[in-house]
């Protein structure tokens, strides 16, 4: 079952779509420069306050800015849509994937499966590690990213040794596995090399500006990722029913590279991030209204998981949500309320 605009019965004029797909380096470079400037502005207090209590708020602010955009930019580069110039796209893809903690080629193939089989159990390799529908315990697991850390660490070890799971082999051509192995070895060498140099030189900045922020910013980043499909309909071909778009303020849109327009992104993944608001306007009433802001939508999701865990009514009137499923997830959701 392939999930795309056609399977979702969404139509768009070909000429309009082609105009939106056009690539340019400028928006990507502008975003990249703005992100680096933001990291410099929020990262300076982290270094200056190390050892004092002010370090805690400073690193919390920096971590959110670091982790959400590292994920979002790596995702955009996985699609090859961040920049028109290919080497620039691939260079930024490598750096941001390293920051995100995933080998780039694996990231590209697993994400391809997510687009081909969006939110289809057993076929979409980027579904949550916790069983869906999520209980509160599953929500905690997903927000802390425990499954992701474990899964990625295991992959760094196994792929370096040339051991690939059936799941990985299902979405990766056999001819690409040696490249995935050597890429993983390069990633591991970079991580271990940086750790060794830092210890030898007594550097603390990689810890303060990369490692701790990736862990501390992880929950915010995971909240953004979880919102994309959680509580939506599984195992059916319509992207509008499996995917959520939501409103948010300009700052979060910037950090998230406009991926709050997530239905639009899944319908037409060739459209670059900077054209997504325009795509959203052009699709007009073919799309459902976006869910409310990032925090309010996520708050609803959290309340749903708590109520579900307590065996209470798990419906929310405030966000789009698939019709009820049982707790084992055994019954497929087919539609969205």
């Amino acid at each position: 079952m392939i999930t795309n605009a056609q399977s979702s019965n969404i139509h768009m004029d070909k000429k309009q779509l082609k105009a939106l797909m056009r690539r340019s380096d400028r928006p990507g470079l502008t975003y990249l420069a703005a992100w680096i400037a933001l990291l410099a502005i929020t990262g300076t207090p982290v270094i200056l306050t190390a050892g004092s209590w002010w370090f805690i708020p400073a690193i919390l602010v920096y971590s959110g800015c670091f982790a959400v955009s590292a994920y979002a930019l790596s995702h955009e580069c996985a699609h090859g849509t961040a920049f028109r110039t290919r080497w620039l796209n691939e260079a930024v893809f490598w750096v941001t994937s390293l920051l995100y903690y995933e080998e780039p080629l694996h990231r590209r193939y697993s994400h391809a499966s997510h687009h081909t089989h969006t939110w289809i159990e057993g076929e979409d390799n980027q579904m949550p590690y916790a069983p869906i529908p999520l209980t509160f315990a599953g929500w905690v697991e997903e927000i802390l990213g425990l499954g992701l850390y474990w899964h990625q660490t295991k992959m760094f070890v196994l792929h370096s040794l040339g051991i690939f799971s059936e799941n990985v082999k299902r979405v990766t051509p056999a001819s690409e596995l040696p490249r995935m192995q050597s890429n993983t070895q390069i990633c591991v060498a970079i991580y271990l090399g940086l750790a060794a140099i830092s210890m030898a030189a007594g550097w603390l900045w990689p810890l303060y500006l990369i490692v701790i922020p990736r862990v501390l910013g992880g929950p915010v980043m995971n909240a953004f990722i979880l919102m994309q499909h959680v509580e939506m309909a599984e195992n059916q071909p319509n992207i509008v029913q499996s995917t959520r778009s939501f409103r948010t303020n300009w700052f979060f849109q910037f950090l998230y590279f406009n991926m709050n327009h997530h239905i639009e992104h899944h319908l037409y993944p060739t459209v670059p991030f900077h054209a997504l608001p325009d795509l959203s306007d052009k699709l007009g009433d073919q799309l459902p209204p976006p869910d409310p802001g990032f925090i309010s939508t996520h708050w609803e999701v959290l309340k749903i998981t708590i109520r579900r865990s307590l065996g209470r009514n798990d419906r929310s009137a405030k966000i789009r949500q698939a019709f009820s499923d049982d707790l084992t997830g055994a019954q497929n959701d087919q539609s969205v309320a």
Binding site: N4, K15, R23, G80, A112, H115, T116, Y268, P269
Partner: protein
């Protein structure tokens, strides 16, 4: 009938830096109009059988609409993941404003 020349379309039918796809002799064929000229390849992506019709033509490369795998339109060569298998190419001639493809 295979290996025959087919009158596929008028040159005006394909916009600059764009493509159209059509069935010729039972094959889905993509015809590209690029600054370097017209080219023809198989019209379905080799990764997951997606039509290239909604793809982006840029700098002599067709990018698949589903996962943005890229192929050279002149040689059919697969250029970047997730595509690894080349596209079949077809001989093409432009005569009197018409595009002819040998399929």
């Amino acid at each position: 009938m295979t290996n025959q020349w087919h009158d596929a379309c008028a040159t005006d039918d394909v916009d600059d830096e764009d493509l159209i796809t059509m069935k010729l002799a039972g094959q889905t064929v993509a015809i590209y109009n690029t600054p370097e000229g017209f080219f023809a390849t198989a019209g379905m992506c080799t990764h997951e059988d997606e039509s290239l019709d909604g793809g982006l033509v840029m700098d002599g490369v067709i990018e698949c609409p589903l996962h943005q795998g890229r192929f050279c339109v002149r040689t059919g060569k697969a250029l970047s993941a997730p595509v690894v298998e080349n596209l079949k190419t077809y001989e093409l001639q432009v005569r009197d404003g018409r595009v002819w493809v040998k399929v």
